[in-house]
């Protein structure tokens, strides 16, 4: 970029803020249509059972009920992102408490609820697979007897209750153990946690007389939902229109079809629009939470702290259906490698079926779990070898030009700077400043997910700019970032840009709000569109300015030539008169990242594109009596490549840390005997204003080669390191090494007692 930027790198207010602070912004939960019915889902009360009888006749007879549907009404279809294993309704077998069995629509919510209460389901219990140990035991009952009959991504390594085993093998770990002076083996566990978005999942569906269904939903992936709905409804994708009015947080929990299919099926049956919205109980029992895990990690080191080998296995309790599990298990192996040089690796991720809710994706899927193990163990190793944890990391971190675990060549590696600056900001030299007080570090790396993005950009006759994108704004301000890129490229102000988004009928395709990709990919599509618009503008302006196109430039809302200038507004008006309007189609697809295919197996995510690097540091105290943790300071140094809008990147960091601290200290979906014990927001403990400390954000900028102005994905990374950073600080503070999440006060006290006893 030449000269000072006009729009990018400035902390401008997000373009959708006024509507959000005045209550005029419409979210999917707010959306309603005239004559709309209310849909509710009848769910399994058994974790694993044969459904021998389902009687909906009493429900259908209740006043106000307009539709009752179940598996008997079809369609007989299974869907799923990696394995097509999930039916719309359970037919013969129910596989978790909360699995949909039937659905009703009625003129009021009360009538719909009364109808649910009138449905009778008779079940005969089957052997239950309630946790990872039970699922992986020899001769374990199968969650899916027919798993081999399911359609799946061909490369998946499936076997019984394992719906994928992803593997990375580098070098020879046996040689690595031989070269090591010490070998460390540890086991870690993490709990199932929910994304905690404040807006429930919601969808309104309406069919028109041509057989097209329109669904207004708060999905993060309208085009994925369109495709899934077309499969489920057995109609062409063009007959499904998905519109995203507004999304009250997603964090990965609103990626896949959630309630849209129920709304569409009920609306088809009833002949009226139907709205379906989840309750908190449904969210905590039948949504797409983050998988609980067991992680076994074995690492060899020399006495001077050089890593020689690592063997890791991470098991994901992915629930009754594969969901995101096969992909998450793949990504996990990349995280298990850590941002470290390790010559010999044998890393495996297992996605395992159990009779629990179907787990999905949650901000940096697998990141917090795998990183918790890796970075906890790094501190254990440092302590055992008598090497400072910062120094141990500095001796092993990846640097410019190093290889990633699958052989990708790393560039724009800002890790050392992140690590040093985070350590400096937390005052690392004084790691145990007082009794009961300690500091912890954790580092990591993450990907900027690929997938294509398209935009239409139009210059209006008043000189303002309309951005039409299939992407979705879930709250990150990613579309404000993309609009900043567009405004910069066209030489206009951010205030000149308006955005229309997320409509599968009228907006270009976008891979969706996932994987920290939106500002990155849509921003680049905007640059492509701006380049095309520039060509058209220059062609139109050249004759008027009496200058060749090569002599023209875009500046301050004008095309400027050597002898004069003409405004974008004027050129847009001329184009409307004679050229059908000043419009361009910009597209972007991230270039493939080369890797060594021989190193991976069953792997659906074998390279981290435009990877980001980050370091977290925390200073905290542990109450000697109660075990309660008080955080004094939290620092994040994140290599964002280029900060498109510093304020909202800080917002991502502050929010990601807050969520991460919830997962670290208090959050857990507690299952007992296949049932969730805490399916309400009183007992599922998310952090409040009183629980979250101030976070100091340090934005490190090592520009990448692909992203707009060098930007890297920023949304997911801040969620990765909090568990390990906090666990390490607690260990420094009181000597208690907690290896299971959440790290409750109770666990700290009990671990301390066990240690001193």
């Amino acid at each position: 970029m030449s000269g000072a930027s006009r729009v990018v790198s400035r902390s401008l207010a997000r373009i959708d803020a006024p509507g959000k602070v005045t209550g005029t912004a419409v979210y999917a939960a707010d959306f309603a249509l005239p004559g709309m019915l209310y849909g509710k889902i009848f769910r399994s009360a058994e974790p694993h059972a044969r459904l021998v009888r389902l009687d909906t006749t009493r429900a259908a007879a209740i006043a106000g009920v307009r539709a009752v549907i179940s598996a008997a009404d079809g369609p007989d279809v299974r869907y799923g992102a990696a394995v097509k294993d999930e039916p719309v309704f359970a037919s013969d077998i129910v596989r978790y408490v909360g699995q949909p069995v039937a659905a009703v629509a009625a003129v009021t919510l009360e009538a719909a609820e009364a109808a649910l209460a009138a449905i009778e389901a008779v079940c005969e219990p089957l052997p239950r697979v309630l946790d990872l140990a039970a699922a992986l035991a020899p001769g374990a009952p199968l969650v899916h007897e027919g798993w081999q009959t399911y359609t799946a991504i061909p490369i998946l390594q499936r076997d019984g209750n394992v719906c994928n085993r992803a593997r990375i093998v580098v070098g020879d770990v046996e040689r690595g153990w031989a070269e090591a002076d010490q070998v460390f083996e540890h086991r870690f566990t993490t709990a199932m946690v929910h994304q905690g978005y404040t807006e429930p999942r919601a969808a309104v569906a309406a069919w028109d007389s041509s057989g097209q269904v329109t669904v207004w939903s708060n999905t993060q992936l309208p085009f994925d939902v369109q495709a899934t709905l077309a499969d489920i409804l057995a109609i062409a994708p063009s007959k499904v229109r998905v519109i995203v009015p507004g999304v009250g947080g997603g964090f990965g929990g609103k990626l896949r079809v959630g309630v849209e299919h129920f709304a569409a099926l009920l609306a088809r049956r009833a002949g009226r629009p139907v709205k379906v919205m989840t309750t908190s109980e449904e969210e905590l029992t039948a949504a797409y939470p983050r998988q609980g895990t067991i992680i076994e990690l074995k690492t060899g080191v020399t006495l001077d702290g050089r890593l020689t080998a690592r063997q890791g296995r991470i098991y994901f309790d992915t629930g009754a259906f594969a969901g995101s599990g096969p992909g998450v298990a793949s990504v996990a192996t990349m995280v298990l490698a850590g941002p470290y040089r390790t010559p010999n690796l044998h890393l495996e991720g297992y996605a395992v079926y159990t009779n629990k809710t179907n787990c999905g994706s949650y901000r940096a899927p697998s990141g917090p779990q795998a990183n918790f193990a890796v970075e906890s163990q790094m501190d254990i190793i440092a302590d055992a070898l008598g090497i400072d944890p910062l120094e141990l990391r500095l001796r092993n971190i990846v640097r410019e030009g190093d290889e990633g675990p699958t052989g990708q060549v790393l560039s724009a590696v800002g890790l050392e700077e992140c690590l040093r600056r985070a350590a400096e900001a937390i005052g690392w030299r004084d790691r145990r400043p007082a009794p009961g007080r300690g500091k912890g570090l954790a580092i990591g790396w993450w990907t900027t997910t690929g997938g294509s993005s398209g935009v239409y950009v139009k210059i209006n006759p008043d000189g303002t700019v309309a951005l039409n994108t299939g992407a979705v704004e879930i709250g990150t301000a990613a579309l404000t970032g993309a609009a900043q890129v567009l405004a910069e490229a066209l030489g206009v102000d951010l205030a000149d840009v308006t955005v229309v988004s997320g409509d599968t009928f009228s907006t270009p395709f976008d891979f969706g709000a996932q994987g920290s990709r939106t500002a990155f990919a849509v921003g680049n599509a905007c640059r492509a569109a701006a380049a095309e618009l520039q060509r058209k503008l220059f062609a139109l302006a050249a004759a008027q300015l009496g200058a060749p196109e090569e002599a023209l430039a875009l500046h301050d809302k004008h095309v400027v030539g050597p002898g004069g200038r003409v405004s974008l507004a004027e050129l847009a008006r001329q184009s409307q008169v004679a050229g059908g309007g000043m419009i361009a189609h910009g597209t972007f697809i991230a270039p493939a990242t080369a890797y060594d295919t021989k190193r991976v197996e069953g792997h659906v995510y074998p390279a981290f594109h435009s990877p980001s690097f980050h370091a977290h540091a925390v200073d905290l105290s542990v109450d000697a009596e109660t075990g309660e943790v008080a955080i004094h300071k939290y620092v994040v140094a994140q290599d964002v490549g280029f900060a498109l809008n510093p304020t909202y990147i800080e917002g991502q960091i502050e929010g990601g840390v807050a969520q991460g601290l919830g997962q670290t200290l208090s959050e857990e979906i507690v299952y007992r005997d296949g049932r969730v014990l805490n399916a309400n927001l009183t007992d599922y403990k998310m952090p409040t204003t009183l629980d979250v400390p101030r976070v100091e954000s340090i934005l490190v900028e090592h520009p990448g080669r692909v992203g707009p102005f060098g930007a890297k994905g920023v949304g997911e990374p801040p969620n990765i390191e909090p568990p390990a950073a906090v666990a390490n600080a607690i260990a420094a503070a009181v000597g208690a090494r907690i290896s299971s999440l959440p790290i409750t006060a109770e666990k700290i006290v009990l671990t301390q007692r066990a240690g001193s006893g």
């Binding site: 997000r14 803020a17 959000k20």
Partner: protein, 162 residues
């Protein structure tokens, strides 16, 4: 259930409604009056997205019966400032980068409004205490607290100027 006629004073406007005795204020606001700036989520007074002001006090409208609101002055986010203008709190939330998905923001702003009316110069700790019943999953609260502090300063300065 027999319906009861009630009169609600919402954003300084009078509304007649006929409601069952167990209807919540939240439901009447959103379903009957189309005031969807007041958000819905847990229906259990745990998350705070449904916060409105009743006679100046912040309440969770999801557990507040509509019949109890009879003759009380109710303020929702739509009525916080005249159309086309922003209340200092709204302006501060925009300018501080305190808004992400925005779903908690109407409730957050109204909870802050109720507190600032009684505590015009609060400390950060007091603001955190006042907003502890309003969950936000996006922001980590930092910029929200900053926005309320900024708004308090701005409102105090405006009063002094008068």
């Amino acid at each position: 259930m027999a319906k009861i006629p009630i009169t609600l004073q919402i954003n300084r406007e009078r509304h007649e409604a006929l409601v069952e005795p167990d209807r919540t204020l939240l439901d009447v606001l959103r379903s009957d009056l189309g005031l969807t700036g007041t958000k819905t989520n847990c229906l259990d007074a745990e998350c705070g997205v449904c916060t409105v002001l009743v006679d100046g006090l912040a309440v969770n409208s999801c557990l507040y019966l509509a019949v109890v609101a009879q003759d009380r002055a109710i303020t929702t986010i739509e009525g916080l400032a005249p159309a086309g203008t922003l209340h200092p709190l709204q302006r501060a939330f925009v300018e501080s980068g305190a808004v992400q998905c925005g779903y908690c923001i109407p409730g957050m702003i109204l909870a802050a409004k109720a507190y600032l009316d009684d505590h015009p110069q609060p400390s950060e700790a007091q603001i955190r205490e006042a907003l502890a019943g309003n969950l936000c999953r996006c922001t980590g609260y930092q910029k929200i607290v900053d926005a309320v502090l900024a708004a308090a300063n701005c409102m105090t300065a405006e009063k002094v100027a008068l």
